[in-house]
Amino acid sequence: MTRTSAPRAFHWLLALFPKAFREVYGADMSDVFVDQLRATRARSGRAGVMRLWLRTSLRMTAAAMSERRAARATRRGRLPLFDDLVTDLRLTRRSLLHSPLFTVVAVGALSLGVGAVATIFSSMNAIVLRPLPGTTDGSRLVGIDRRTPDWSEGVSASYNFYRYMSDRAKSLEDVAVWSRVPLTIAAGDQNLAVGGNIVSPNYFDVLGVRPAAGRFFATDTSHPEPVVVVSHRFWQSRLAANPDAVGQTVTLNGRPYRLIGVAAEGFSGVFTPLRVDAWVTSSAQPHIKPSRDLADAPWLWMFGRLAGGTNSDRARTELAGLTAAWAAPGGSDTFPRYSDIRLVPLTGLPDDARKAILGFGGMLLGAAVLVLMIAGANVSSLFAARATTKQREMGLRTALGARRGRLVRQLLTESLTVFGLGACGGVLVAWAATSALERLPIPGDTGLFLELSPDLRVCAFAVMVSLVAGLAFGLGPALRGASHSPGGLLRASSRGSSGRRSRLTKTLIVGQLAGSLVLLAVAGVFIRALSHGSTVDIGFSVDNVSTAAFTTESYGFDEPQGKRFFTDLRRRLESGPGVTHVSFSNFIPLGATASGTTISVNGARTAVRSAITDTGYFATLGIPLLAGRDFATYDTATAPKVAVVNDTFAAEVWPNGSAVGNSFAMGEDRVTVVGVVRSIKHSTLDEADGPFAYFPMSQRWQSGQTVFVRTTPGSTGAAEAIRAAVREAAPHVPVPTVTTLADETTFAVFPQRVAAIVTGVLGASGLLLASAGLYGVLAFVVSTRSREIGVRMALGARPSDVLQMVVRDGLRMAGIGVVIGLAGAAAATRVASAYLLGARAFDIPTFAAVAVILFVVAGLASYLPARRAASTDPLNALRAE
């Protein structure tokens, strides 16, 4: 029988032992542990295993330290610093086990604080910081982004530009391109819509992704037959992880493709939040993406791997030169404006989104750091209070000859141990919190998904953060704890804490209260922003509209077939029960998409945002037509080109007089404005109205369209009606995901929702910590003042006087905290104002509300110790002396 080897973590523990010891007993120790693990798992399950790990790692560490010390002692005398460390650790363990409540509260508080920071960091790490999962040496991958010289605008790469770069760039080992394509894969009798990528054949090689099964594309570009690679996820969920599936033929967009390989587990393309389940090569473009070409159409994302010995700066210089030469006038390029290049780390998001998330995440990280500081201050005052009770011990040890440095070191070891345990707890908290965040539903049919769980980098970060916090908040109490003359300390009794120390503790409490007020205020302002968002006039009506997205290209339809499909679908839906309007558009307002075009009016070029719509779109969405007409069936492909513009467009371009009947140039076409509609919010709730143009679907074909179905209020079954209509119109078209327009448009407030939830949780944690701190300090003060209270009561003070006295003490701290906190909140909400959808950052009702919350909680936290003080029996209190 072969024996199970011990888990890797156990080998780390073994590594702590001296080599000689390990060589003799290491294997035996592993055996014993494996047996213990097995027996414990059988007897008390996972909880038991956790306890076993915890106990074993603590004891093994201690044993290893002792063994090392013993080994050193026999070899060549002792190493004082090391011996002290062992002693300190032993003392720490004893002292922490001796006061379990203190240990639990301190470690719990720190776990919360470190966990908050680690959660945000873990999410940012997963989304924007870590190299692409599944790739090899991902830090040498760069996204190549063609921009205007001021980097304000970018354009995607054309295939010709890619070939040009690929031939000439010396600073890149290799270059690859890719683009998104919706694909339809036949699985049994059902067709599935999946996210796909069309890629240059060297795509996987450049990324350094390894196949989990089969192989990737051959780079000689002459595939005799169309081939496809699927994701590990697809292989597992749809193909039952069957190795024989590789080599089989699958029907993709209506044609046979040979499945040649499975990508590495966890690899989901270059933009990680977009689920990608299949990859085809660029040679499949005429079939998969007939609307594009492998010449000058700009539709590809480019990335490369830096050659050895180059860095990103040098590569940029070279590539910028190449781009400028390519874009030079007289060249073959159609986009001479984009003459510069930008290199961005390839971390799973487009650069603009990456920057936005870094900013947003930075703000949330700030809030989390505030929680950590509150937790740190909390633990610091716990240590300070404890130091007071340990004064006698310290005094005794000083009197017996302990040097001050020694005592500081021991106290510091104790704080660092607590903070270290806090780091472990923090990682657990982060693990739980990120899995909760992952489950937060992303609105609409965006195909986005997130994987946020912590990796080793996050663990290292948590330990570092905890260490810094431990030094920052642990050093103070350690220094003070060891800074007294022995005589004074031995004489001192419970007569009361020294003024200086209690002032410091109170300052820490005030700081905690102020910090939690800031957090609560920020959370409150975000909640305000959300409710404000629901009152913004978005210009169209989202109620009773269902939507579903289609890409006819991916069903193997050419343009006439696609048009026929949409017409047929529309006819079937219009006759459905309760349906009042049906239309199509390639654009969902306030959704996750955007499109634009460049037009020229009287020779001046301007960029406008635009959408392609079918007839009846404005009526379906309830957008008022201000002048002229909607598109009509006679606006056919051969009829004069027409457009409907919004009132902002009309007012900007034709300030004097009607826009209807005027025209502008777009590409080769002359486009006549036939109607003016009211402006609506297109991508964010707080955007200013900008020029927007609508073009008829009949004149500008796009195979990707969303259907909008408005039903009478109260009628249900729109989703089923859409699915049934699709089934009848074209049985092999994959069943679409039906959502509501209300759902899709909440995407616009998704960041605010996340911010409100995260800062709300952080604020509540901060308040919990601060009130626990307040309670603890007041309880401590009351206990040290019991004699004074006894005297007061003996002299005639009533219990209510004592109650008032203590509560007043707590509320005074809360008052100062509120004042400081409000100032901080005013500054903090200003930072958040970029995300507030036009809601006021300095919002008096919100601030007042959180101040009241803080006072109520502080009052409660003071009342409990106050009641205890008021019930003091004066005789007992005096006798206790």
Binding site: M29, D31, V32, D35, R59, M60, A62
Partner: protein
């Protein structure tokens, strides 16, 4: 190396438990852990590190020695090292138990026990 029995006394509690466990039969590491926790009602549950520190010490002081393979064990135990009590170990164990017995039986001990009994 001390050969006089009394140089080894008193034994540390864990050492005593290990010697007691080996007095019954030869055991390997995990066997010792099990025997000790059973005997002490789970008061002493040894971790691998401390177990082998103790074994190392007992080997060095010649109270236990490595036993040959234990034929009664199944194949799973083939690579394991077994330990046995040495004659010196046996004598030390007997002396320690004797010492403890005398301690418990001493008049003074009994008087204290009576006085402190609930």
């Amino acid at each position: 190396m001390p050969t006089d029995i009394h140089d080894h006394l008193p034994l540390k509690p864990v050492d005593l438990e290990i010697l007691l466990a080996l007095a019954d039969e030869d055991r390997h590491g995990y066997g010792l852990v099990q025997a000790v926790s059973e005997h002490t009602n789970n008061l002493i549950v040894l971790d691998p590190g401390n177990l082998y520190r103790v074994i190392k010490r007992l080997l060095e002081t010649n109270l236990v020695a490595e036993a040959g393979k234990n034929p009664s064990e199944d194949a799973a135990g083939e690579r394991r090292r077994y330990y046995r009590l040495t004659p010196l170990g046996g004598r030390v164990l007997a002396a320690e138990l004797d010492r403890l017995r005398r301690l418990v039986n001493a008049t003074a001990t009994r008087a204290v026990a009576r006085r402190l009994a609930p």
